[in-house]
């Protein structure tokens, strides 16, 4: 199967690989997927508590090229967004941007799950209610 140029670009030059301090109250961590499924994504956001803006985003991913590209793209999109804006990122936006084939849509779903999980982790740390699970994946 041939990969799109954008997948290859993100895979070869992944943006924002790394680790933020998961103990910090301003950092939200989302760990989704499972090793036996062949995909695990860890996505972290660092939020400015004053402005609610995501100042930094980092990822590490165990998975195929599309999974790595999806998480790399997600970190790019998250930076500079408010937490509320970040919640509007839809997996189909990732599919479109990376031209993922149908068999790789689950990689984009995982990236969306990782974003929500990171935001919820941050919200809980801030004493807020987690956003309810929304199972409306395309």
């Amino acid at each position: 199967m041939a990969y799109s140029e954008k997948v290859i670009d993100h895979y070869s030059n992944p943006r924002n690989v790394g680790t933020l301090d998961k103990g910090s109250p301003n950092v939200g961590t989302g760990l989704v997927g499972a090793p036996e499924c062949g995909d695990v994504m860890r996505l972290q956001i660092q939020v400015n508590p004053e402005t609610g803006v995501i100042e930094d985003a980092r990822f590490k991913t165990f998975g195929c090229g599309s999974a790595i590209a999806s998480s790399s793209l997600a970190t790019e999109w998250l930076k500079g967004k408010s937490v509320d804006q970040a919640l509007t990122i839809d997996n189909m936006d990732i599919v479109e941007e990376l031209a993922l084939p149908p068999v790789k849509i689950h990689c984009s779903v995982l990236a969306e799950d990782a974003i929500r999980a990171a935001i919820n982790d941050y919200r809980v740390k801030q004493g807020l209610e987690p956003i309810a699970e929304e199972k409306s994946h395309h």
Partner: protein
């Protein structure tokens, strides 16, 4: 003249990319094989079944000679060679043909869970027709024991089918011993020897094999031509034809013979017989060098028995790195992976899983298959590429980070998706 020679030597040193290390999937046709085939497309294009003109005679001569070349490679009589379209058809013909022919004797067949899909799916088909199939489970090293087979044999067992060398991990089963056991019990023995014939010595007499499938394209021959060896005496084995037609191949497989393919397979068999020893010596050295270098990496594991193995195959898991992602990083090397993402079913390799490997190790595996064309330069290049890629991807892997922090991944609550 000296200059010209120098240029040629330099040209030979330039490695062509990508490097092909997927020779368990298929091999390049040997130019000598192709040369032997070409006249049978254009000049000697006759139908081998045409008995009354020279075109037919010439084609038949080619086929007869090939039969001898093939029989010589496996210690058979040339009358015992039944041509098919490939190993999948041979496996279908062997299993379905025996099941129909020996239905009065019984309906029980013994096989193993690590067999190729051409065997397992045929068994599933036969189960729907009323067959009872026992699926043996190999040990962690991929090997079956004689005792396991003996325990499974029943009075109504008509066939035991066990592959010679495994296509994914290269493990060689104790075929001679299993087959001798079957003979003792009066049960027919079939082996899918697709990966073994042409690579290691196979002798249907010494090995007590009654039926055996193999194909040309795994031993530097063309695709689309295979063989089912069917023993003619001691005992005389018969299989019911699965296609109706002109009654070719002693009534067991109808259809106009693929003369160029057969001639190519004959030549490939002859070359394998003559060059097997020297090829194997070179290949096994390169394979071991590749394997040893990759196994020096932390958390990398060899899959399957190290001792009982095809000389050209190694299958290694690089823990905490996903196979498809890894293959993308080594795009200049053509290999195959046990990762789910590389299969249509999104399931990781059932062969690796049957060895008791965790799914994550099955996802992290690469299979390297060398050939008579593999060079030392290619092996050096592969060692470097794979090592760099594994290190790079581990830096990107949350699982590697967790492992390094001493977190037991089994204790983590993973989210299914």
């Amino acid at each position: 003249m000296v200059l010209l020679l120098q240029i040629r030597i330099n040209l030979n040193k330039i490695m062509k990319l990508p490097v092909y290390l997927d020779n368990n999937a298929t091999t390049k046709v040997d130019p000598r094989v192709l040369d032997a085939m070409i006249p049978y497309f254009t000049e000697d294009f006759g139908n081998a079944a045409s008995r009354n003109h020279p075109f037919g005679w010439k084609a038949e001569e080619g086929v007869d000679y090939a039969r001898e070349q093939i029989a010589a490679l496996i210690g058979a009589n040339e009358k015992e060679i039944i041509f098919t379209s490939g190993a999948t058809e041979s496996n279908n013909l062997a299993l379905k043909g025996v099941f129909e022919m020996y239905a009065e004797k019984g309906r029980h067949i013994i096989t193993a869970v690590t067999e190729h899909k051409a065997i397992l799916d045929t068994c599933k088909h036969l189960e729907k027709q009323g067959a009872e199939i026992t699926y043996l489970h190999p040990a962690e090293n991929g090997l079956l024991t004689i005792a396991q087979v003996e325990e499974a044999i029943r009075p109504d067992t008509i066939l035991v089918t066990i592959m010679f060398g495994n296509n994914e991990i290269g493990v060689l089963q104790p075929i001679r011993e299993i087959a001798a056991l079957c003979k003792k019990h009066g049960v027919l023995f079939h082996s899918d020897a697709t990966q073994a014939v042409g690579k290691i010595p196979v002798d249907v007499v010494a090995d007590n094999i009654d039926l055996m499938s193999f194909t040309a394209h795994k031993m530097y021959g063309p695709k689309g031509i295979g063989v089912l060896y069917v023993r003619r005496k001691n005992p005389r084995v018969k299989v019911t034809a699965q296609m109706d037609g002109g009654g070719h191949e002693r009534g067991m497989r109808s259809g106009t013979l693929n003369v160029p393919g057969i001639v190519g397979l004959g030549k490939a068999a002859e070359l394998a017989r003559i060059e097997m020893d020297s090829d194997t010596q070179r290949i096994i050295k390169m394979r071991d060098r590749l394997e040893n270098a990759l196994l020096t990496m932390e958390e990398s594991y060899l899959n399957g028995s190290k001792e009982h193995r095809l000389p050209h195959t190694t299958n290694i898991s690089f823990k905490y790195v996903e196979g498809e992602g890894l293959m993308m990083a080594i795009k200049d090397i053509a290999v195959s992976s046990g990762s789910a993402c590389t299969s249509a079913s999104l399931e990781p390799s059932y062969v690796l899983k049957s060895l008791g490997l965790d799914d994550e190790l099955a996802h992290s595996s690469l299979r390297f298959g060398l050939s008579r064309y593999t060079t030392d330069e290619e092996i050096d290049f592969t060692i470097k590429c794979v090592t760099d890629a594994v290190n790079r991807l581990r830096e990107m892997s949350p699982l590697w980070e967790m492992f390094k922090e001493g977190i037991d991944l089994k204790s983590v609550q993973w989210t299914e998706h």
